[in-house]
């Protein structure tokens, strides 16, 4: 998304200073996707394309309702269809709207090396400021949900913006507006949690005793949450991570190693400097030159004799 509002940042990629955050008196928002009410109509996918002016290339039929086959630079949300045979031997069709989860502690933002290319607003939305993106793909490595996709033409990374442009003027995201069954809700995070609680109670009363809310605390919670009928096994839903977390490899790379590396390099350079100041340069003396010449001369005279 474009840089519509830059005074309500709570996080800013590759920044060692406090981001501009004066206008941060905002509610945390959340999108609640109630998987149990989704009919897989893909109205949300169409609405996303429509509002954001996205037109992915027409692909091929892959033998699945999933279409296109994967998220992409122009596919910011995608219905994923999983067939699951439950304990009673009945088929369950688990349909999940995939896309950016808008983590409270975003791995993409942590990994990003370009200052301000990824920001998080006070309302919790994680947004890519594309003109600052350098196309390195570090966000792809940082993300625990495999969401960002790099465009091969402009070398920029793209993902769902949670319609930050709409939200900033008090509208709900396009997918929410389009959903015909009310499976996608949008509001303050507290309201969404309350609503999810009612839905879960209802699901439990109808025999889904493992129903629950997907708001993974490993990433500090998310601003896109799911109501799942099988909250004990999120991976049933086309590989939704059971315990999403920023990879420890990424944490090491973006955590301790960064300062340690600079300290190490600085120490090496400083050791050199102070060695120079104390031991000083190692210079060839006249005596050395005389000795060196002597060795060469003696060898020469030996050969000629």
């Amino acid at each position: 998304m474009s840089d519509l509002q830059s005074q309500d940042y709570v996080r800013r990629s590759a920044s060692t200073m406090t981001p501009p955050s004066a206008r941060s008196h905002e509610d945390q928002v959340a999108k609640l996707i109630d998987v149990s009410r989704c009919i897989g109509c893909k109205a949300c996918q169409s609405a996303c394309m429509e509002w954001n002016n996205l037109r992915p290339e027409i692909g091929h039929f892959e033998g699945s309702y999933e279409n296109p086959a994967d998220l992409g630079p122009s596919v910011w949300t995608l219905m994923k269809f999983a067939e699951y045979e439950n304990e009673q031997g009945n088929l369950e069709w688990l349909i999940r709207k995939d896309g950016c989860m808008h983590c409270e502690d975003p791995g993409c933002l942590k990994a990003c090396p370009a200052p301000g290319a990824i920001v998080q607003y006070a309302n919790g939305i994680v947004d890519f400021i594309s003109d600052k993106c350098i196309g390195c793909g570090y966000c792809v490595k940082g993300c625990p949900f495999d969401i960002p996709r790099i465009n091969k033409k402009d070398h920029k990374s793209y993902k769902c913006t949670l319609c930050s442009d709409r939200v900033s003027v008090g509208l709900e995201p396009a997918c929410v507006k389009a959903c015909p069954t009310g499976a996608i809700m949008f509001g303050s995070k507290t309201d969404m949690k309350d609503w999810a609680g009612e839905r879960i109670e209802d699901l439990k009363s109808r025999g889904f005793d493992k129903a629950g809310l997907y708001d993974p605390q490993e990433v500090g919670g998310t601003h896109v949450m799911y109501v799942l009928h099988h909250a004990d096994k999120p991976s049933l839903y086309s590989g939704l991570p059971d315990k999403p977390q920023i990879s420890p490899v990424v944490m090491a790379w973006k955590g301790v190693i960064k300062p340690l590396a600079l300290i190490g390099i600085a120490l090496a350079a400083l050791s050199g400097f102070f060695h120079w100041v104390t031991a000083g340069p190692n210079e060839v003396t006249d005596e050395d030159e005389a000795q060196g010449e002597r060795v060469l001369r003696e060898a020469e005279s030996e050969k000629s004799s």
Partner: protein
């Protein structure tokens, strides 16, 4: 100070050109690489025309560095083979550090420190190249899985830091041991330099073990 009439060719023109191509590539890689490593150094990307161009050009310089360094390996591997004298040199490192070379055993063409720089780079540059390929988003972004890329980027950073530290040592040693830089720019050293720092090598040269044309009149 006496000005010796004869000098010793330490590095041929091919050696020197190859070395400086490597050096230029390395410096450019350090600058562009560090800009993508630490936010405080992102400004270095300005030297390359911005973040996008830095990201685009860095891997290509890396390819050039690998090719160039292979040339150095071909030219210098033999003289860097580890010898038992090197252990004696390492044991006398404290005399080396205080410029007291009379207490250091005579050194051949390269001392153990120089060999350490050579072999460290010989290990690190291919590691950097291959880990770099894995994270070269434009061409190989889809070639490996994301967990593999995460490990590759960590290895790439660690190897780069190690290489930078080795490079700092290399550059400082060249400044510290006076007239070494001239060996790699104009190609020659004086007999006194050879006597002081590589006495065994000087004696080998005098005995004609390295061929005649290495000793010539001063330019």
């Amino acid at each position: 100070m006496t000005r010796p009439k004869t000098v010793i060719i330490r590095y041929t023109a091919v050696n020197r050109i190859n070395h400086w191509i490597t050096a230029i590539c390395f410096v450019l890689l350090v600058l562009s690489g560090l800009s993508m490593f630490h936010p405080m150094l992102f400004f270095l990307s300005g030297l390359f025309g911005g973040g996008q161009r830095t990201r685009a050009v860095h891997p290509w310089i890396g390819v050039l560095l690998l090719i160039s360094y292979l040339g150095l390996i071909i030219q210098f591997w033999r003289e860097n083979l580890v010898h038992k004298d090197d252990i004696a040199w390492m044991k006398s490192i404290k005399y080396v550090a205080i410029n007291d070379e009379e207490h250091v055993p005579p050194v051949g063409r390269n001392n153990a420190g120089q060999k350490m720089v050579f072999w460290s780079m010989t290990l690190l540059i291919p590691v950097l190249f291959f880990s770099g390929l894995v994270i070269w988003e434009v061409y190989f972004g889809a070639a490996t899985s994301i967990p593999v890329q995460r490990v590759a980027v960590l290895i790439h950073s660690l190897a780069a830091i190690a290489a930078i530290i080795i490079w700092v040592i290399h550059v400082y040693a060249a400044i510290w041991i006076r007239d070494s830089v001239r060996g790699m720019t104009q190609g020659y050293v004086t007999p006194g330099w050879a006597w002081r720092h590589h006495r065994k090598w000087l004696k080998e040269l005098a005995a004609g073990e390295h061929g005649k044309p290495t000793i010539r009149n001063r330019p």
